[in-house]
């Protein structure tokens, strides 16, 4: 599989208490475990099973993903903050790896 690279879109700065949208996208094949290869062998499941968005150590959104989620999962959510800080994102893969990125958001 090609290199996994998460993408996140969030505003650089927001007004305190303002509701803003965060969009995330990660390239991942999300192999469901239901398919068989040409030889009839089951292709083992490999999906992103958990997504987390954490702002200054406080979880904003935690989602358990299941095999029916499509390839290249796109997750969008809204939030508001009262202080500046770092919004950290984590995608947990079935194989144990965790893909991480973060964005700093300022108040202004």
């Amino acid at each position: 599989m090609a290199k996994i690279k998460p993408r996140v879109k969030a505003p650089k700065s927001v007004a305190a208490g303002e509701v803003f949208t965060v969009k995330t996208l990660i390239n991942h094949k999300m192999e469901s475990g239901q398919r068989k290869d040409k030889a009839g062998e089951k292709i083992p499941r490999q999906i992103i099973n958990k997504f987390e968005a954490i702002f200054n150590g406080t979880p904003v959104l935690t989602a358990d993903l299941d095999p029916a989620i499509s390839t290249n999962p796109f997750i969008e959510f809204s939030m508001k903050i009262s202080e500046a800080g770092d919004l950290a994102f984590k995608w947990h893969d079935d194989d144990g790896s965790v893909y991480e990125t973060s964005k700093s958001i300022a108040i202004g």
């Binding site: 290199k3 993408r7 996208l25 390239n27 390839t71 290249n72 796109f74």
Partner: protein, 282 residues
């Protein structure tokens, strides 16, 4: 009975025309990232069998249209990012990368709008894929990429993106005239168990529903296209193959002379439209 059938068909057609208008209102426009307007309609070039040219974007649902209007929402951009990395990664026996000869990818600006074109040195009609593989083999000493593989479609997407907004202007005369005629013949020849030609859908019936979907004019300005059905970028030849399978014909091979000729002819039908690739389609 015959009259009844005809009126039912007429009724159906009218309803569908309205449906088409709802999806593709005269005023629907594509503005990428809220700042780059992309014209999706164009006056037909002289001698065109079409009254007006429409990008395939016009025929898609509002949601799909919106995905393409934002580079973040456009999943095709994932592959552009990957190709960007590949662009400056040395490969092959010469230890060179694309960047060593070509600099930044924006040196490719405008190229996509003229493809496919005659390569005098090779004495052959060249597509973008040919140019990429020639560079890989000749100058990098690397293995050629598969025609519709992820690396190839990613790279064609990166190169197409540099021409975003450029008006398609494919040459059809001179040394390529023969290929153009060949492509035209393929376009209008009925094949397969369903006995259909490209023109039956994409010229006679665009805007009409085919099962749950609107038929487009079959323009190539949005390629490589990210298709929601297979969640990856698709090359022009892969799409040709899909069409041929749908009409129960035996497809030509990707990269065959037949598909090159067809690509040239179909691209020339879009002369005047604007490069969109990588686009988002069903």
């Amino acid at each position: 009975m015959k009259t009844l059938t005809k009126s039912t068909l007429m009724g159906g057609f009218l309803a569908l025309s309205l449906g088409f208008a709802a999806t593709a209102g005269e005023d629907s426009t594509l503005v990428v990232n809220g700042e780059t307007p992309i014209p999706v309609r164009a006056a037909a070039p002289e001698g065109s069998p079409l009254p007006e040219l429409f990008s395939g974007w016009v025929f898609r649902s509002v949601e799909t249209q919106a995905m393409q209007a934002d580079d973040f929402d456009n999943p095709g951009m994932i592959f552009v990012d990957q190709a960007w990395e590949a662009w400056s990664t040395p490969e092959g026996s010469a230890g060179k990368s694309c960047a060593d000869c070509h600099g930044e990818p924006d040196s490719m600006a405008g190229l996509r709008a003229t493809m496919p074109k005659w390569n005098a040195e090779a004495g052959k009609l060249y597509t973008l894929e040919d140019y990429i593989n020639e560079s890989r083999v000749k100058h990098m000493g690397a293995e050629p990429w598969k025609w519709s593989g992820a690396q190839m479609t990613g790279m064609t997407a990166l190169i197409s993106l540099q021409s975003r907004g450029a008006t398609i202007n494919v040459k059809t005369d001179g040394p390529v005239a023969e290929m153009y005629e060949k492509g035209k013949e393929i376009y209008y020849t009925r094949v397969g168990q369903l006995d259909m030609a490209c023109s039956n859908c994409h010229e006679d019936n665009y805007g009409v529903m085919i099962r749950a979907d609107h038929l487009s004019q079959g323009q190539t300005n949005g390629f490589p296209a990210y298709r929601l059905k297979n969640a990856k970028l698709n090359s022009i030849h892969a799409r040709f193959k899909g069409c041929m399978k749908n009409i129960r014909a035996r497809p030509y091979k990707e990269g065959s002379d037949e598909f090159r000729a067809l690509e040239l002819y179909v691209a020339s039908r879009g002369n005047g439209l604007v490069v969109e690739g990588p686009s988002v389609r069903n």
